[in-house]
Every structure is written in C-alpha cells, then in structure tokens.
C-alpha cells in the first residue's frame, strides 16, 4: 500500500494528541509511522505505539492525566458533551475517523454506565482506508447478481472495519444501494454531513445511531438493498438483523471471533447463523503481520 498515504494517516491521528506527546510519536521512523496501528496512552507510563510486532514504548516523558483529557478535548474539538452517548460505550471518534477507546472509572447510574471519570488510558486507533482490499472478497459475495449476506470475522484489531469499509465501497460502486449503520462513525467518518472516507456512490450513511435502531430506520426510510454495520455485540442488534433479513435485504456485518467454529460457539451468533441470516463468512487471518481473507459458505454448518 502507498506508504505516503499511510504516513499521512499517522500524522492525521497524531494531530489529535497534545503537542508534547505528538512530538514523541513524530520521532518514529517513516517505516514505523506507516505500520503504526494504534497509539496507547496510559497515565503514569511511557506512551507506546502498536506496531504489527507488538507495542513499542517511546520517549522518556510519561503520560499525565492532563494529557489524556487534552487528547479527548482536541479529538472532539472541545465538544466532549456531544459525545456523551459514545463515551458511555467507552469511546469517542475523533477528527479523521480515528477511534479513541477510553478507560477510567465508570460512573454508574441505575445499573448503567453514565460516563467515565478519572480517565486512566486511551487507545487511539489509526483509521486507514485501504482501497480495493475487498475487491476479490466482494466478487465472491455476489452470486448470480445477488448479494449473499455475510459476516466478517477476526479478533479485535484484525482489520474488520477496514475491510468492511472497502466492501461497502465495492458493493455500492457495483450498483447495490447500500445503507450503512455507522454507530461509531469510524467507517465513513462523516463530518458536516459529508463522509470523509470513500464509501461508494450509492451509500447512505446513518452515523452515531445505535445499530438496532439504525437498521430499522434505514429499512423504513432508505429502501436499501444491503444494510452494512460494524460489530454485532448485543441481542438487540441480532433482533434488528432478523427483522431486516425477513424483509429481503442483504446484510453485511462484522463480529469478533478467530474463526467460524469460535463464532458458532457463542449463542448470539449461533442463533443468527442457524436462521440462515448470513450465507457467507469472511475470515481475516494474519500471518507475519500480513492479512489475508477467506470466504466460507455457512449453509449447512448449523
């Protein structure tokens, strides 16, 4: 992939950090900048960068709690209050679509997470658009001109979102009307109504809306042929998928799992697969830092 592009994404994510920290990361070599996947900031410890080979600690200056708050302030353009809902889910999406995971002390109210105080660590995931990485996969998901509903699986950090983004673009540009339920706004990175990432010419994006509600809303209002979404995690997401599937809409989603057998071992997904909601599984595997994709038939597995 274009190293220049990858380095530009590194700088785009580094721009979310306060100056002192940013300078530490900017001292990395160009090769490391291109391969960097995440910035890890933990209060009281040295900052580190996640590279394909693992985490590398940087500099001599430890991260202060103030650095963490400043990062969140910069990333949200001083609009932390607007990200209340996503903070409840432990993340904010910064400028450029970079997702920032938040750890700290949860504020509980009526048994539910109300927010996070005393932020203790942040993980800034560098959003990368890898165009055409899903070209072959997209071709395998279309049979006789019809899209076969698919679930993309890999462990966390495996590249599901990157592949999903390109699959959406591929399918959209091949003539399918795609509705994208982008709850975390990290697939299309919509800003001022305009997607910052290329998600295709026939894609409608509904961002920052809980997935289950987004699916139903898109179904009612946008007449989609395919509904795409990231990470099915809750039973209510699964129920929304069931409803959409019964309406004849193709579905494209992602889930955390190493492979199909691991996916089948979990109740939520086993139920979805046994109902035949997904016809294909796209498994992302990684060898020596290189990702590869395989498409597997799910029919007859359950």
């Amino acid at each position: 992939m274009d190293e220049e592009y990858l380095i530009s994404r590194f700088y785009s994510a580094a721009a979310l950090l306060p100056q002192g920290l940013r300078e530490t990361f900017e001292r990395l070599s160009d090769k490391e900048k291109a391969f960097a996947e995440e910035f890890r900031l933990r209060a009281g410890l040295l900052p580190s960068v996640l590279l394909p080979g693992g985490e590398k600690r940087l500099g001599t200056r430890t991260v202060s709690p103030r650095d963490l708050i400043d990062t969140l302030e910069i990333a949200t353009e001083s609009s932390l209050h607007s990200s209340k809902e996503s903070i409840r889910n432990g993340f904010v999406t910064g400028l450029g679509g970079h997702r920032i995971g938040i750890c700290g002390t949860a504020i509980m109210k009526n048994g539910e997470i109300e927010g996070i105080r005393s932020v203790s660590s942040l993980s800034v995931r560098i959003a990368k658009e890898i165009k055409d990485c899903g070209r072959e996969v997209a071709s395998k998901l279309i049979e006789s001109g019809r899209f076969m509903s698919a679930i993309v699986i890999s462990p966390p950090g495996g590249g599901k979102t990157t592949l999903l983004r390109d699959l959406v673009r591929q399918l959209s540009n091949r003539g399918f009307r795609v509705a994208l339920a982008d709850e975390r706004n990290e697939i299309a990175a919509v800003r001022g109504g305009v997607p910052q990432a290329d998600v295709g010419m026939r894609t409608d994006v509904l961002s920052s809306c809980p997935r289950d509600q987004a699916v139903m809303l898109l179904l009612r209002t946008m007449n989609p042929e395919i509904i795409a979404m990231d990470e099915i995690t809750a039973p209510r997401d699964a129920r929304a998928l069931e409803s959409a599937s019964n309406c004849g809409v193709g579905l494209l989603a992602t889930a955390h799992a190493l492979d199909v057998s691991e996916l089948l071992g979990r109740g939520l997904y086993r139920e979805l697969l046994s109902q035949g909601i997904f016809r294909k599984a796209v498994v992302i595997s990684r060898t020596d830092g290189v990702r590869s994709f395989s498409v597997q038939d799910l029919e007859g597995l359950c």
Binding site: A15, Q19, E73, I74, E77, S79, L80, H81, K84
Partner: protein, 171 residues
C-alpha cells in the same frame, strides 16, 4: 470674529468629548447585554442539544448581537487555525483581541474564567459554569445600565459646560 469661531470650536470639541463618553457607556451596556444573551443560547445549546463546539461558535457568530458576535467569530477563526491547542487558550486569545467588547478588565474576568470549563466536561458542569458567568455579567450589566442612566446627561452637560468655561477663561 476669530474669538467667536475659537469659542465655537472649543465648545464643540468638549461637547463631542462628553457625547463620546456617553456613547462609550451605551456601548458597554450593549456589549454586556449581547454577551448575557449569547451565554443563554450557549447554555441551552450545550445542555439541551449537545451542540458540538465548532457548530455552536458558528451559530453564536451568526445569531448573537454585536459585539458578542464578533467575539464568537474570533473564537471560531482561532479554533480552525489553532487546532491542537486547548479551547481555554483560544477563548482567552479571542477575548483579549476583540476590542469591540469595550469591557473593563474586571468585566472580562467571568468570561476568562469560563473558558477552561468549556468543551471538556459534561453538560451539567458546563451548564453550571455558564450560568455562573452569566449571573456575574448580569450584575455588571445592571451596574452599567444604572451608570448610563445616571451619568449620560451629566457627562453631556459637563462637555458643554467645560467648553463654555474654557471659552470664558480664554476670552
């Protein structure tokens, strides 16, 4: 003849000084009033609509009265150009450079103190901080209004009287 022209000029000059001083009082009232109104909008946008800061600054720059609108436009420009800097810093910079506000140092204080509370806390804390700043500005506004009502006529009259007095002394 020269003496008469001189007398008229001196009186006109001192009168205009008086009028300028009255206008300054009025501008201060207008400035404080526009800021109080802007803080009202700011509070409801942050607490009710959760409006993101760039959008909020745009709205305030477009919809508030002068000179508050100039201040928020300056904030917006700084937010775009000083990316990566804390909001409190650009807020302070915009306050210090918006001369149109024509406020005294102590009147700017509530706003300077508000800056660090904006954008980095939850809605409740921001709402409280905005309300506290607004209350202090309202007190200044009340004081400025009574000063304006009390002193407008006096200052204008003093301008005319000073001119007449100087003329008499000189003649």
């Amino acid at each position: 003849m020269t003496k008469i022209i001189g007398a008229i000029m001196v009186t006109a000059a001192t009168t205009s000084l008086g009028v300028m001083s009255v206008r300054q009082l009025k501008r201060r009232v207008r400035s404080l009033r526009s800021l109080v109104g802007a803080l009202d909008i700011m509070r409801s946008e942050i607490c009710t609509r959760l409006t993101p800061m760039p959008e909020l600054l745009e709205l305030l720059a477009a919809q508030t009265e002068e000179p508050a609108n100039i201040f928020f436009a300056n904030c917006l420009i700084r937010q775009r150009s000083m990316r990566g800097r804390p909001f409190a810093e650009l807020w302070r910079s915009a306050l210090e450079s918006t001369e149109e506000l024509e406020l005294k140092e102590y009147e700017l204080e509530p706003l300077l103190e508000l800056g660090p509370a904006l954008g980095r806390y939850d809605t409740d804390r921001q709402g409280e901080a905005i309300l506290a700043a607004k209350k202090r500005l309202e007190a200044f506004l009340q004081k400025a209004e009574s000063e304006r009502d009390r002193e407008s006529r006096t200052r204008a009259m003093l301008g005319v009287a000073a001119g007449v007095m100087i003329t008499i002394i000189l003649i």
